[in-house]
């Protein structure tokens, strides 16, 4: 049975902000963890992505194998993966401090929408990004690894931004701009605008509220 996504929006299971060992995790230093699954041919994107994330958040980036079965999130009627369930699986899998980013080539959806490029727990601990709909070939265009790399980095930074409590930004060039279409992804940059950068700094300097 797939885990219920109920409650995954509530950061910190007990609300104390403490880890299993009782220490308060600081968002300032805790590493970002990449969990690749179903990456297939896109595996080569992971290394450059780690570098982009390191630069964007000034945090060490680690890599972990998935400790869950992603098939639990597969919806056979839609032929897509339910990103809400995947987030719940990632959260259950996440043991250490810091944020965890699932990276996949699977086609993601949330029940009411046709697809999503990624998902995140707002002000939480886990995020998810998919390269499936970022690939130019999907739209009949020639392969462009650099463009795919840039798109994936933007969406990954965007989703991780949500885990730090950032909401969508009205500045179309900011990485936190809402981009439900590829044109929006291509128009924005991989950088935070001044306001979002300040908000990110403020949020990172406070103790994490996220428990295991």
């Amino acid at each position: 049975m797939p885990p219920s996504p109920r409650g995954i929006d509530s950061p910190g299971a007990d609300g104390t902000g403490k880890t299993e060992t009782g220490r308060v995790a600081s968002q300032e230093t805790a590493p970002l963890t990449i969990v690749p699954f179903y990456c297939g041919s896109q595996r080569s994107l992971l290394e450059p992505l780690a570098k982009e994330l390191m630069a964007a958040f000034s945090l060490p980036v680690e890599r972990q194998p998935p400790g869950f079965d992603p098939e639990m999130a597969y919806d056979s009627a839609r032929g897509q993966y339910n990103s809400r369930i995947l987030l719940a699986l990632l959260l259950r899998h996440h043991q250490g401090p810091g944020k965890l980013l699932g990276v996949t080539d699977a086609d993601l959806f949330i029940p009411v929408l046709t697809f999503v490029f990624g998902e995140a727990q707002l002000d939480g601990r886990v995020a998810l990004v998919s390269s499936h709909r970022l690939v130019p070939e999907r739209y009949g265009l020639p392969a462009d690894p650099a463009q795919l790399q840039a798109r994936l980095a933007k969406e990954a930074i965007h989703e991780l931004g949500h885990t730090f409590g950032l909401v969508h930004c009205a500045n179309g060039r900011c990485v936190m701009a809402s981009s439900p279409q590829l044109t929006g992804v291509d128009l924005k940059t991989a950088r935070f605008c001044v306001d979002c950068r300040d908000a990110l700094r403020r949020r990172r300097s406070r103790p994490s509220t996220a428990g295991p």
């Binding site: 996504p5 029940p111 929408l113 909401v167 439900p180």
Partner: protein
């Protein structure tokens, strides 16, 4: 100023849908509230207001269409977007007819959903802005801006309210400075035409040819200098009100043209071949004795009857002395705000001077007197020496007629202004045309 966080109510019996939507919109910075049934949604509406409601069409118990109706009974401003798993044109049409903002079928394209909600919020904010502007206009130009509690003024206000509801042509008569234009604006502001323009035109200030072009407009090349096509004041007043001040001053030829326009409600620009239909109301004002002008054949009788459908007499200020303190205080507050000057009252002595004076220039003269006192006076009080008027009787004897006092006063002001008509008009609180008329009337010479 921080922008208010927009709020969304998500109503769906399926947890996964509610959860997905609320998560999606929280990332957009919305304040999201979830309801799993119509009953829950109505409870939420009791305690909180929402900008947008996303409502599932098929729910156990009360369905989306019925909920939409109930939502709009509670708050007609909420934009309702219906969501359903089954596209049915019939239901969609029903929802839209009942006032839904739009209708989407699950699963929704993320871009479409974002656009839809943004448009819904934009429409709501435009509607709110429009309402606020309308309220501001009502406040600014409403009948309440006419200050006065004296019986003659209360009668005028009663007539204004009465005639505003109709489309009748109004003739406002009264001495210069009695507030004829203010009365015209009050009629317009209380009428169904209030959200369209009131277009004022001083017929006495323009020579015949220019007045014709101003009123009727002209085509390109209609006369030398007509380089562009231009709408006239009548066309500009379409759906609104045309206010013709000093209507007694228009030339005989213009009287014929104006009468035709008033009767046909059609205007032909100078140089044009075809007339244009215009829907406007006419309010005229005059300080002339039009009956006498008709007798002397200076004013067409048919036009006189056409514009004199409903007459309002603007009383001179001396006929309503009890309004002087109210008006003085009104102008003090107005100019204190405009000049940002902390003059907080008018001294009892100064008020005595104001009430004793007979104000030949009427309210305009009083307004100018207070404005001048605000400029020369020292905070916090207006004193008698700050006023440009002297108590009645200081320069005239009790046996003098009003005309004699007016003549002497105008002559004095003209002398003081070295016969500069503009300055004299400003001091007297009347317009330049009236100063010329008074000079002619009293045979004044330098």
């Amino acid at each position: 100023m921080t922008k208010k966080q927009a709020s969304i109510l998500v109503v769906d019996d399926e947890f996964a849908v509610r959860d997905s939507l609320s998560h999606w919109f929280r990332k957009d910075g919305f304040d999201v509230h979830e309801a799993e049934s119509a009953t829950d949604a109505l409870k939420a509406l009791d305690s909180q207001s929402f900008d947008v409601a996303l409502v599932d069409l098929k729910m156990p118990g009360m369905d989306g269409l019925e909920l939409q109706e109930r939502i709009h009974q509670i708050d007609p401003q909420i934009g309702v977007i219906m969501i359903t798993a089954f596209a049915s044109v019939e239901t969609a049409v029903r929802a839209l007819k009942q006032g839904a903002f739009d209708y989407v079928t699950k699963p929704i394209d993320p871009d479409e959903l974002s656009h839809l909600v943004r448009r819904c919020l934009e429409q709501r904010s435009l509607r709110e802005e429009n309402e606020k502007l309308r309220e501001t206009i009502d406040d600014l130009v409403g009948v309440s801006t006419i200050v006065g509690e004296s019986p003659p003024m209360l009668k005028v206000l009663e007539l204004v309210r009465h005639v505003a509801e109709t489309d009748a042509t109004v003739l406002i008569r009264g001495e210069s400075g009695t507030g004829k234009e203010l009365i015209a604006r009050a009629i317009h502001a209380a009428s169904r035409r209030r959200y369209f323009p009131i277009v004022p035109l001083n017929c006495g200030a323009l020579p015949g040819d220019l007045l014709e072009s101003e009123l009727f407009g002209h085509e390109r090349g209609a006369f030398t200098g007509a380089q562009y096509r231009r709408k006239g004041k009548i066309e500009t007043a379409d759906h609104g009100t045309l206010f013709l001040d000093e209507v007694g001053a228009i030339t005989p030829k213009m009287q014929v043209d104006l009468l035709r326009v008033l009767e046909t409600k059609e205007v032909t620009r100078l140089g044009a071949n075809r007339p244009t239909k215009v829907d406007f109301r006419v309010i005229c004002a005059t300080n002339e004795d039009l009956e006498n002008a008709v007798k002397e054949k200076r004013f067409r009788e048919d036009l006189y009857y056409r514009i004199n459908v409903f007459a309002i007499e603007a009383p001179p200020l001396r006929a309503r002395p009890t309004d002087v303190p109210l008006l003085a205080e009104h102008f003090r507050q107005l100019f204190a705000r405009q000049m940002d000057k902390r003059i907080t009252s008018i001294s009892p002595e100064a008020m005595e001077v104001l009430t004793a004076y007979d104000w030949p220039g009427n309210v305009r003269e009083l307004s100018n007197a207070i404005e001048r006192a605000m400029v020369v006076g020292k905070p916090p009080v207006i004193r008698p020496q700050d006023l440009p008027v002297r108590p009645a009787g200081a320069t005239s004897g009790p046996g003098d007629s009003l005309l004699a006092v007016e003549k002497r006063h105008i002559a004095e002001v003209l002398e003081r202004a070295d016969w500069n008509i503009t300055r004299a008009a400003e001091t007297l609180g009347i317009d330049r045309v009236t100063v010329y008329n008074k000079i002619k009337k009293y045979g004044l010479r330098r």
